[in-house]
């Protein structure tokens, strides 16, 4: 009965195995001891010394190259019983009688076990390729004055075997991969190995890690939580060396709240105004129905609906963006500062507001609340196109009843409501066009744009443009012939 103490390397095992095979030593008569892989190995001093390799007596048998490569991989396995398994396999593969092992017989107990261990090592290698995380440090003597250092904890003894992968991948970069059992270093031309190193010897952070974690968090889809799948592929064993893993508990804890938020916004938009618009009825009926609209989230703001105002037989319709603070309080369109200015300009071109229908693309007041020393103020917030499109059924219903001959879009939002989301005011400004709401459609500034002008020149320019458009509109209405004749 021979007992062989190994130093943990494949070369050492191989040297002994050759001797034993040459001497025809049966696997049952050999005990392999590997102090470097015994979990309970006491201090280095009490561990037995590796057995010296005796000179060969006899001719060692040749082993197929494929088997040799498989054995070398299996030798990385952390389980020290692998050495005995390897010897048993080689021994059996060399029998010349009927008991000879065929390595292609993958359902043989030894071959199957060897393959399982090889698979474990390969998987561990694959996870090392994947989960090593480099941290950059300043290192004046290295390429570009920097070195990338990783601390990784493989399950098997693969640091030496897998260093080549990183050489191929990062040839022009200085790097070190530290593991508890062995460390690999590359300086751009030579690969060297040193002993294993404990974690504190590795750098503790990298400036890019915050960005990486941001990316990791953003790419996670809370609607598809599947922790079983994550743990199966990214064992918790590796989490401590992966910066992004720190975000996992937080991401998981946030899931119920994020799902609830998604359901909440999706519940609201499950509507759009369309289901709330009555199929028949006059403007008053529309206006009354609009108060019950749940087509977008603005209905939860506690503000009133401000519907359009004017005669059902108006030939001219003015379309604005959305009601403002004063309009919302009064529940009437264009009654605040911009409305007063509009009245003034309509007067200049001799249009009676009583003959005109005025309305807005969005019927609610979208705003944010600002705290000032004098209390809270409601500040106008521009409604995005999604709000415009969701509110659109109301405007369409208004137009279906009025059928104006002239429509004036006041400002960019009104232009989007009429000509679509990708049309800008400057694309259609000043010209008379056909739209699906009126045969003559104009686009011009919103009166609020005059109030917001940054210089008197700009103010004057916008005012003139708006007045000119209103004058054109008025002219078109008169040419249409029905405006002056009044309702028939």
């Amino acid at each position: 009965m021979a007992t062989i103490v190994l130093d943990g390397t494949f070369a050492h095992w191989r040297a002994h195995a050759r001797g034993l095979l040459a001497g025809e030593v049966d696997p049952q008569d050999v005990t392999w001891v590997d102090p470097t892989r015994e979990e309970t190995s006491a201090s280095l001093f009490s561990a037995p010394r590796p057995t010296a390799v005796a000179p060969l007596c006899g001719v060692p048998p040749r082993v197929a190259r494929v088997l040799a490569a498989t054995l070398e991989t299996a030798a990385c396995h952390a389980d020290p019983s692998t050495w005995a398994l390897m010897y048993r396999i080689v021994w059996r593969s060399l029998r010349t009688d009927g008991s000879r092992l065929d390595l292609a017989d993958t359902l043989d107990a030894d071959v199957s076990e060897l393959q399982r261990r090889v698979k474990n090592v390969r998987r561990d290698a694959h996870k090392m390729h994947a989960f090593v995380r480099f941290r950059r440090i300043e290192s004046p003597d290295d390429l570009d004055g920097e070195r990338f250092v990783a601390w990784h904890r493989p399950r098997h003894r693969i640091a030496e075997r897998e260093a080549g992968f990183f050489v191929k991948r990062f040839p022009s970069m200085a790097w070190s991969i530290l593991t508890p059992h062995r460390s690999a270093h590359w300086d751009g031309s030579a690969l060297t190995f040193t002993d294993g190193l404990p974690r504190p010897t590795a750098p503790s952070g990298d400036e890019l890690e915050a960005l990486w974690v941001t990316y990791y968090k953003s790419i996670f889809n809370p609607a598809r939580l599947n922790l079983t799948a994550m743990r199966a592929e990214m064992p918790q064993h590796h989490w401590p060396t992966m910066p992004e893993a720190r975000a996992i508990p937080e991401l998981v804890a946030e899931v119920p709240a994020r799902l609830a938020a998604m359901a909440e916004t999706s519940r609201v938009v499950d509507g759009s105004a369309a289901p709330y618009v009555p199929a028949t009825g006059d403007l008053d009926a529309l206006s009354a129905a609009a108060r019950g609209c749940r087509g977008c989230e603005l209905c939860f703001d506690g503000t009133q609906v401000v519907f359009g105002e004017g005669r059902a037989d108006a030939r001219l319709v003015l379309l604005g963006e959305q009601p403002g603070d004063e309009e919302e309080r009064a529940a009437a369109p264009f009654v605040g500062p911009a409305g007063r200015l509009l009245d003034e300009l309509l007067g200049e071109v001799s249009v009676d507001r009583g003959q005109v229908y005025v309305t807005n693309a969005v019927k609610h007041f979208k705003h944010r609340v600002e705290r000032t020393p004098h209390g809270k103020r409601r500040i106008h917030a521009k409604p995005g196109y999604s709000l415009v499109s969701r509110c659109q059924p109301w405007f369409e219903a208004e137009m279906a009843i009025i059928r104006p001959s002239v429509l004036v879009c006041l400002g960019a939002t009104a232009v989007q409501a009429v000509f679509g989301p990708s049309t800008k005011l400057k694309d259609v400004h000043g010209s008379v066009r056909v739209s699906r709401f009126a045969s003559a459609t104009l686009a011009t500034f919103h009166p609020a744009a005059i109030l917001r002008a940054r210089s008197s020149a700009e103010r004057e320019e916008r005012r003139e443009a708006l007045v000119a458009s209103l004058r054109v509109a008025h002219g078109l209405v008169r040419r249409d012939g029905t405006a002056d004749a009044g309702p028939a």
Binding site: L107, F134, K168, L208, M230, E244, V252, T265, L387
Partner: protein, 423 residues
């Protein structure tokens, strides 16, 4: 869009918007850097991380911009949605890719984009990112570019010069679905991109086979092309989805079709269902996809339900087996490869092991156990040398229930964690 937005803010917005593209594969191409430059491609791809949704993170998957003129209802970046907008500069994406790659976070880049004006100009900006990575940075890692909606075949082809994979999303299985949810998209346009890409990929490949000079040049989209289909946003059944996929595999020789369950998004469009389809539907489609490609099944065999959908409770192969019990039991010691491939629980690898193993011995139940394949599911359908007691029950009415418990448990656990939000 905010001026001077921080890189981290942009990354957050543009990664969040990109996550609805399912593909993250970095496989299908092998490339060495010849000892210079940075990175390589290993052929099989590497998943560098996994998020709690169980999906792998292999590539830096981002949009160049989420500003978009289109209004595809299922898309979070559609023009009518109120979401924060951001755009990366070409140089920022290049730097981020290199920085992440050097730290071994990723295998490469998967870049897509909203269309912020001219589609060809947008496509050319994606191509420019890839060109700079290759030419200026010596980057040899993986690059996947998405064909921008509306880009010309020529612009898409320019991308193939630098990218490993270029993909045009078909998005929906039928044109009717697109008309309803993405009026500006068409299946014909996506297939036109696929056809033109496919032609060039094949031409470049045969040129490389013929001439050594061509082999020294950069290969054209060596990892081929893939596409994505969204399922569950409309009532279209699995049968149509699989027929379309099958057609795309055959006509354009796609490497992969990705199926992605319609996932609820922030402020979803009102035309879309509020509830997501069960995730298991996507899983079943992938199983069926594999059966079509590697197991010799036909679409018509796999979809047996009257409503045209796959069964959610059992995997498609088991469903087929339960409906075709006359085919079983199969003798593992005598059956052909084709027959073995139809046994529930046996995959291509296990079948290979059986075929090799039975040359040496008559296979018994203990041998099957060593396959590490799901025994409970398999045993009722097979005869081994020593035992076929379970196969005697092949006609038992409760067979379906007996072979299923494992999977149900898994799904239950996943939905539990989703509800309580605990690890």
């Amino acid at each position: 869009m905010l001026a001077g937005m921080e890189l981290a803010d942009k990354l957050q917005i543009l990664a969040d918007a990109a996550k609805y593209d399912a593909s993250c594969a970095s496989s299908g191409v092998k490339r060495s850097n010849g000892g210079r430059g940075i990175g390589n491609a290993t052929g099989t791809g590497i998943c560098h991380s996994y998020t709690p949704d169980g999906r792998c993170v292999s590539l830096l998957k981002i949009l160049l911009t989420n500003v978009c003129i289109h209004d595809c209802h299922y898309c979070v970046s559609r023009v009518s949605n109120d979401v924060p907008r951001a755009s990366f500069a070409v140089a920022e994406v290049v730097q981020l890719t290199i920085d992440f790659y050097k730290r071994n976070y990723i295998e490469g880049l998967f870049l897509s984009s909203g269309v912020s004006g001219c589609a060809d100009a947008t496509m050319d900006r994606l191509t420019e990112v890839a060109r700079r990575l290759r030419e200026d940075e010596g980057f040899c890692g993986y690059v996947h570019l998405k064909a921008v909606v509306g880009a010309s075949d020529e612009a898409v082809a320019r991308a193939g010069r630098w990218a490993d994979r270029v993909s045009a999303n078909i998005e929906m299985a039928r044109q009717e679905d697109l008309d309803q949810l993405a009026p500006e998209r068409s299946i014909a346009a996506a297939e036109s991109s696929m056809r033109s890409l496919g032609t060039q990929i094949r031409a470049a490949r045969s040129e490389r086979r013929r001439s050594p000079a061509a082999r020294r040049e950069r290969p054209f989209a060596p990892a081929g092309q893939s596409t994505q289909m969204i399922v569950g946003a409309t009532a279209t059944p699995d049968r149509s989805v699989l027929f379309t996929a099958n057609r795309l595999y055959r006509t354009h020789r796609l490497r992969r079709v990705y199926y992605t369950s319609y996932s609820p998004i922030q402020s979803a469009h009102h035309a879309l269902p509020v509830k997501a389809p069960p995730l298991v539907r996507e899983h079943r489609l992938y199983q069926a996809d594999w059966l079509l490609r590697f197991y010799g099944f036909e679409v018509g065999e796999l979809v047996t339900r009257a409503d045209g959908n796959l069964d959610l409770d059992v995997d498609p192969k088991t469903a087929w087996a339960l409906a075709h019990r006359e085919f079983f039991p199969v003798d593992v010691n005598k059956a052909s490869r084709e027959e073995l491939l139809r046994v529930p629980g046996l995959g291509t690898t296990s079948v290979g092991k059986i075929l090799r193993g039975r040359r040496h011995r008559s296979l018994s139940r203990a041998d099957l156990k060593r396959l590490r394949a799901p025994l409970t599911r398999m045993l009722p359908f097979v005869i081994t040398a020593d035992d076929w007691s379970e196969a005697r029950d092949i006609d038992a009415p409760n067979l379906a229930a007996r072979i299923q418990p494992g999977e149900q448990q898994m799904l239950f656990e996943a939905s539990m964690s989703a509800r309580v939000g605990q690890l």
